[in-house]
Symmetry: C2
Subunit: 430 residues, 2 copies
């Protein structure tokens, strides 16, 4: 690449067009830092005339991205479409086969096809970079791959989804219910207006957990889900009770090696307000890495939005321009091993269980008897009656118990007519 | 470097010998990650027989490090002696001239001679890496140079010295005075047993501020000190009063561009207990970067000790083994500009001023009159009498005022016989 480096951007949504504009603004600076001149020679999207934040050069526009490869000599391709399959996968595969470096913020694609794509990149001796796929502007993947390269990492966890963290924080601040806050988040652009499901149900965070695991443990991307729960069932009531207990609810993604097995999970956690993670609020993301010999490292920053995402995309670009050819996951594909998944039934936590019950004698003792039958030992009980509706809220905080045990125990309550609905379960973070 | 990469370590103190042992343990892993075999062929220290944490191979020991260069073919040299000049500077210069890559955790050396050494490295097309020189195991320099490479950074600040942060935290926890806590810190190995001055007076943190500035603003290393104050004058009394005000005292290092001028400082700050930085306690370090478009990035981790330091030294090693030849400060020496220093007199803050006075009528009004004469407007006054000694403590929290103004104002109080000593001044973090 001694001549000018030719760049193509496929996908001109919020991120793609922001990146396009940044490349224009920072051309000189990039040349100064890398000694390489760059030029965007092709851009592609579905609709040439869509209203965009920044103007585009229509002379280099392609409706069909595949045509770029036959018409232009491309050195680096940015994939900003964002699908886990379809055109995203197709153009990345074509590019890598043609020895074109690929940069993408597409976590769905990497979490699903990262193994085969990294193999393809290694075979063709080009880079596949995806810093922006996890935690937006936080250079977390580079930190694991390079900054902490020789540490033995045992655990990576954190707040990996800004949408859900905003919703949980805002429910606490405004004391408004889930649905109202979700609408607010959509208006502010923090949640997808059409279908926010993939953020809310933990799917988005889980894709990031998978990518983090592969990097932290030098392993293949796992195919199994140990446990994935979102925040759909969190009510304002839970936020309020947590508050009384000096706790806060956070959606945590956790990847960990337990007894040489891989444990990956995303679920809401109750964390103390006095902890670091309990004070990461709003759209912020934060990742904590437990490594030896480095100890605990914490990285926090804005997890979403075109600005932070572009910052990471450009850091990948500079890495490639500097000629830093690397394995996409830090080590060669053949050296990345599969790790057996941990048996989720044995996952053990203190629990917060909220029951909505008929305010009637015997209900509380029914609950405590059942818990005791399953050897779930109670640490604390808070019963709040609602006289008007002759109902009551019972919150039980338990000592540690396993998933399988609590699952068996809770299934019984469904059949009891004095218990209005399935109890709400939130795990306490250890 | 297709053959085995030969490594020399000069300096076998705590860090040097830990690194030596890590290189032995992680040889295989490094080969897997980089494709390069390494071998430590020479080590050097003053005393071959000193008691060390890990055994050394005496066959490769040199008393005189200069002799290594004539006896061995070295590819990478670790400088772990730690002087700002003398033998540290000498061997780094010899190595760079002989086209040997250099890795060092030596902040004193880099803060003082980083410009000339980076010029030398660039001329000889080898790397000079110093990730471990700032914030131990936190990959902060790599994050600025690579992860956030194209961001426009306006400010970098944080807790850059673990010793002082431990002392301040421990004074609050134990309610013990400065001297007692310092002795405890020395026993625990958090402070130099002989001469802890360079930690306490802010010198150590200031060296790190200088290195951060040069990287964040693509500038030459500054020679001027805007403002450097340590924690020597902080008393338990200040910690207690801060606590009452829901504040905490932290020694902050700050580097910032104000009106196109460079402002670098280290001084104690009062920060709210509700802020992120107010909750970084113990030996932890934390750095906050304000950049565009990325927003605020936070990195936190263990700032000292051989484990975290080795983690950074090895990340530098892997970067070199991967063939990632880079400018030591991110861009070429010739492109790094000098930035004029900000006029410190114009630095403006709210202030905490503690007076120790004779408990006598008229003293408080004398103080407030003088403050008012200098247009220093008072936000809050707390007067606590001590009946026994017929004295009183008066704490004034002011609105914002400039350094020059407060300096002029406070100088007057020295002459007043009712005011026992120079008032203690702590700036409030904006």
């Amino acid at each position: 690449m001694n001549r000018i480096t030719n760049i193509a951007i496929v996908g001109l949504g919020q991120v793609g067009v922001y990146l396009y504009n940044e490349l224009r603004l920072k051309k000189k600076e990039i040349e100064k830092k890398t000694g390489k001149k760059i030029r965007v020679v092709a851009i592609s999207a579905k609709n040439i005339n869509k209203k965009r934040q920044f103007p585009i050069n229509k002379k280099i526009f392609y409706k069909n991205p595949i045509k770029i490869f036959s018409n232009e000599k491309i050195d680096i391709l940015f994939e900003c479409v964002g699908l886990s399959d379809g055109i995203s996968k197709k153009i990345v595969e074509i590019a890598l086969k043609k020895k074109i470096n690929v940069i993408t913020p597409n976590k769905a694609l990497i979490a699903k096809h990262g193994d085969s794509l990294s193999k393809l990149a290694e075979k063709n001796k080009v880079n596949l970079e995806f810093e922006a796929s996890v935690a937006g502007g936080i250079p977390i993947l580079r930190t694991i791959k390079e900054g902490l390269a020789t540490n033995k990492i045992n655990k990576v966890y954190g707040i990996l989804n800004g949408t859900t963290n905003y919703i949980l924080s805002e429910m606490e601040n405004s004391q408004e219910p889930f649905k109202k806050v979700l609408t607010k988040a959509q208006k502010l652009g923090y949640a997808e207006p059409g279908n926010p499901k993939l953020d809310l149900n933990g799917f988005d965070a889980f894709a990031k957990v998978r990518i983090l695991s592969a990097l932290a443990f030098n392993s293949r991307i796992s195919k199994k889900k140990c446990l994935m729960e979102g925040i759909q069932n969190i009510e304002l009531k839970d936020i309020k009770i947590a508050n009384q207990l000096n706790l806060r609810i956070k959606l945590l993604g956790i990847s960990q090696i337990i007894d040489d097995k891989l444990f990956e999970t995303v679920h809401p956690c109750l964390v103390s307000k006095n902890t670091y993670i309990g004070n990461v609020n709003g759209v912020m993301n934060a990742v904590i890495i437990e490594g030896k010999p480095v100890g605990n490292s914490v990285l926090q920053g804005e997890g979403a939005g075109p600005g932070p995402t572009s910052s990471s995309l450009l850091s990948d670009l500079l890495s490639i321009l500097r000629g830093n050819i690397k394995y996409p996951f830090g080590i060669a594909f053949k050296n990345r091993k599969s790790i057996k998944p941990f048996n989720n039934d044995m996952y053990s936590n203190s629990l917060y269980i909220r029951f909505e019950v008929k305010d009637k004698q015997g209900v509380l003792s029914y609950i405590t008897n059942r818990l005791s039958k399953y050897k779930i030992s109670v640490k604390r009980i808070i019963q709040t009656p609602d006289r008007k509706s002759r109902s009551a809220t019972i919150v039980v905080i338990t000592h540690k118990t396993t998933e399988i045990n609590v699952k068996n125990c809770l299934s019984i309550f469904k059949k009891n007519k004095n218990i209005f609905k399935s109890p709400t379960l939130i795990r306490l973070y250890n």
